[in-house]
Subunit: 531 residues, 2 copies
């Protein structure tokens, strides 16, 4: 018995030692290090020369004459903060002939803090640039009369994966010996097949050379070149150098996951099912009577559409009913914070923004707005708001940015639009619209309403959306605006007085400060011009 | 008197008629129409040939031999939903040697609704592709031995603005006469200066021809070519064709506003001011005691940092205190809806996500996480969560997408990371982390937490962030997890029971349905593999 027990114990001991030995010598993956420090990358400069080129020594004697009408359209160095001067100061001139006014934005800050603000902004901007620029932004010029054939765009690989590089070839004059080099920085080159008569050196490494005395064989080999990304980054680009004696070419390979779609279920096909496709979103503050009027008017036409309400009133009342979602916020948290909250809760394909003092009528046909977004590439389409006087506004605004230099860019806003939309004669393409619009939920959530804007703000959403929102406006879908006409003899209710205090703050208060201060700091503008 | 009055009336009448005539004939801008209908654009196909090329007639006789080790790395046609088979089924094998399991996602749907779901998904995906692809995605190959010199990337113009096209030249053999054509689709070409000896035709139009008998003069003229975008789109690309006799080249000009920065004020320089830089965000449901423990533990180390709490409990209690923001949601609205709400309210540069049952300790040094994001290009950095047993988890996951065909893509998740970060030996680069992380607020708001995910969900946020979030994980910043160990003899409180019912729903309920159903429909996956 004792010797059996000893044997068993010994067996256990040996097994344990064996297992430990196996685990210890289990091949652990050798991890490489990656440098992610924020510093300017090599060649990350953009050289887009917008100055008219100076003649070099070869063309110095060739006479030329400037064409002012065209040269004046080119961007200048930096932008100037200027409006339109002069004009008659008669009544209604601003209405009939709106003049452009210019607003320098640094005035949002006290003189004492301005230098510090500029320094901080420059530091944040530099970080931002280092994170957002890649080799895909750099200017590359293709050499003429080069025997190299290569892809100039469209080559993409997923991170750490492998692809065949398309389109490589050498179309050289007859020679005894042909040789090409291919190099990359964030990955390695290899061959997916070995072609007879071609010598390959450096396969599996960042720099590979192929050589042969037979040009057709070399070109066949060039059809099997692979690139493998080895340095992980979720969204970047590698610069590949392709060269032969006397000639060089550069092209980039985009490295990234591609855009993952964010699709929404649309409900059964057939007519547009507004309840399945649209959620109504609004923000309210101290105006429960107006809010209830809005809800009642919506229910007359759309009994089952979900209404999301963000509420930062001081003593929130209950707002309930089927398909109503009421969210309570800290008191006075703010206008854009409330807007951002409301849209963050939407689960349908589209979201309809309304103000809490709108009234739906038989002209408020949401199906028409859905039709526009279903059939065009627009991301957002505004409607029209009718005042008690009958005056109907679409508030269309075009927005453009003129690049500045260290002081910041210039933001230009003008009333109007760009084009009429083919097939939708009541609709146009523009950049900003009134606060009654239908939009793709995923795009609005992506742009967002900046919660730093506590009080009066509107176009800031469209400024943040520039380049990502494709905006339209149709004037045949109309919602009514509960009257704002204040008769001098009517006394204001307490809640009206509080509302006014928060909604229309005096000019020198934080609200204006925040709006212009944000344009200055967050978006890096120096000037805003508008008419 | 009467004749004077008549004269005055006549003068007024004439003035009114004049004014009306002027207003009527005021030159109204002629608006052009734009076609925004969703239909496949010309040349929007991507030709990235990942199949190994078949030999053409010229190279049919050249022998070659496949290199399996490399060829096998190339993407196949479509992806297969397979895990790893076999392996010993001993205790702890899944722990020591985690096997990969594969989950087909169409099983989220009843057989009867699957076809309809696939049809709808395909329609939504086609729309999405039409809205997101541009001419900048197409494969372009540069011809060899072409006398044309031209820019292959880096040329950008703001919508409706004008730029000089850089890098154009003709390096031809001596001839009597030289001629080049330049054409665009979304804009017009022109010259900013007229060079002697060069004939220009079609200036101001989409197709322009330059000709000359003197090559140096033609090349000087080519330095003054301008492009003006005339068809408005906020983010697209125009294809420019540049040709001379016998040779053609294509390049694109990107049209867009550029990326408008969204910078945050960081507070005074010096040491990291956590209260100015960080907002803590969390979601709570029926666990006010644990939430209060969290808040008390945070306040021990960070007395003035703002804490944002999204709360969808049935009978919400008041949670108050300085720098506490409490948001009340409709009962049971959901986990990701609450996360999306909380982050939508953050106004600081960084947001720290915590679960409501975490406890801060002296090891929870937020300054260390801020340091990582301030000094690297990471957008998000996870920490570590320590259980009562002492076991500390970082839950690092790598995520990749393998493109499929009509059935959808395959999503692969594996435990682990990509690289160690230089200069931060406790930190690595990965794709998904545990629910304790610091991140750039603007990036997290841009990715968002999909409010359609009501119950159990975690990596869905990182899947939605693929390609836009650069993710890291450091194991030296640790938060404690309030114990989840349930002793069999301890009775559950009522709120614990309700919590469990909502948090851990039975396998066949909506939660699993929604998670896999969303991966199938929203992100267009057919399969998920993980270990």
């Amino acid at each position: 018995m004792r010797s059996l027990r000893k044997t068993v114990l010994l067996a256990i001991l040996v097994s344990v030692v064996l297992v430990l030995a196996i685990l210890h010598s289990w091949p652990t993956r050798a991890y490489t290090t990656v440098d992610l420090w924020q510093r300017p990358g090599p060649g990350a400069e953009r050289h887009l020369e917008e100055r008219l080129p100076e003649p070099d020594h070869r063309s110095r004697d060739i006479p030329y004459r400037l064409r002012e009408s065209v040269a004046s359209l080119l961007a200048r160095n930096g932008c100037m903060c200027e409006g339109e001067r002069g004009g008659l100061k008669l009544p209604f001139t601003q209405l009939l002939f709106p003049r452009v006014s210019a607003h320098p934005l640094h005035t949002a800050f006290e003189a004492s803090e301005l230098e510090e603000m500029k320094r901080r902004r420059a530091k944040e901007y530099q970080s931002f640039q280092m994170r957002s620029q890649t080799a895909a932004d750099v200017l590359i010029v293709a050499e003429a009369n080069s025997p190299l054939q290569y892809p100039t765009q469209g080559v993409e690989v997923r991170p750490l994966k492998t692809i065949l590089i398309p389109g490589l070839a050498l179309q050289d004059l007859p020679k005894d010996h042909y040789s090409v080099n291919i190099s990359a920085k964030l990955g390695t080159l290899n061959v997916a097949a070995e072609v007879e008569g071609v010598k390959v050196k450096g396969d599996g490494e960042p720099h590979m050379t192929l050589s042969s005395s037979l040009l057709p064989n070399l070109n066949r080999q060039l059809q099997y070149i692979t690139y493998t990304n080895t340095l992980f980054h979720p969204s970047t680009a590698d610069t590949v150098q392709f060269e032969t004696e006397g000639h060089q070419a550069f092209f980039i390979i985009k490295i990234g996951h591609g855009v993952t779609p964010k699709l929404y279920n649309t409900g059964p096909k057939g007519e547009y099912n507004v309840s399945a496709l649209v959620t109504i979103a609004t923000k309210t503050f101290l105006r429960y009577d107006k809010l209830q009027d809005l809800i009642d008017s919506v229910r007359r036409y759309y009994p089952t559409v979900t209404i999301v309400i963000a509420d930062d009133s001081e003593n929130p009342k209950s707002v309930s009913g089927p398909y109503i979602e009421h969210y309570i916020m800290p008191f006075g948290k703010g206008w854009f914070a409330g807007r951002n909250l409301a849209v963050s809760q939407v689960t349908t394909k589209y979201v309809l923004w309304v103000d809490d003092d709108f009234i739906f009528t038989s002209n408020t046909k949401l199906e028409r707005l859905v039709d526009v977004l279903e059939r065009t590439t627009l991301d957002l389409v505004g409607g029209a708001v009718r005042e008690a006087t009958g005056y109907t506004a679409t508030y269309r605004q075009t927005i453009s940015i003129e690049p500045g230099e260290e002081n910041g860019d210039c933001l230009h806003m003008r009333r109007g639009f760009h084009h009429v939309i083919k097939g939708f004669p009541n609709c146009v393409v523009t950049d900003g619209v009134i606060n009654f619009f239908l939009a793709r939920t995923d795009k609005v959530q992506q742009v967002g309403f900046d919660p730093r804007l506590a009080r009066v703000a509107h176009l800031e959403f469209f400024i943040d959306g520039l380049g990502s929102l494709h905006v339209g406006s149709c004037d045949d879908v109309i919602v009514n605006h509960a009257t704002k006409i204040k008769f001098p003899w009517a006394s204001q209710s307490e809640s009206d007085k509080t509302y006014t205090k928060f909604r229309y703050p005096p000019a020198s208060s934080d609200a204006t400060h925040t709006k212009n201060g944000l344009l200055f700091f967050k978006n890096r503008f120096q000037c805003l011009t508008r008419n």
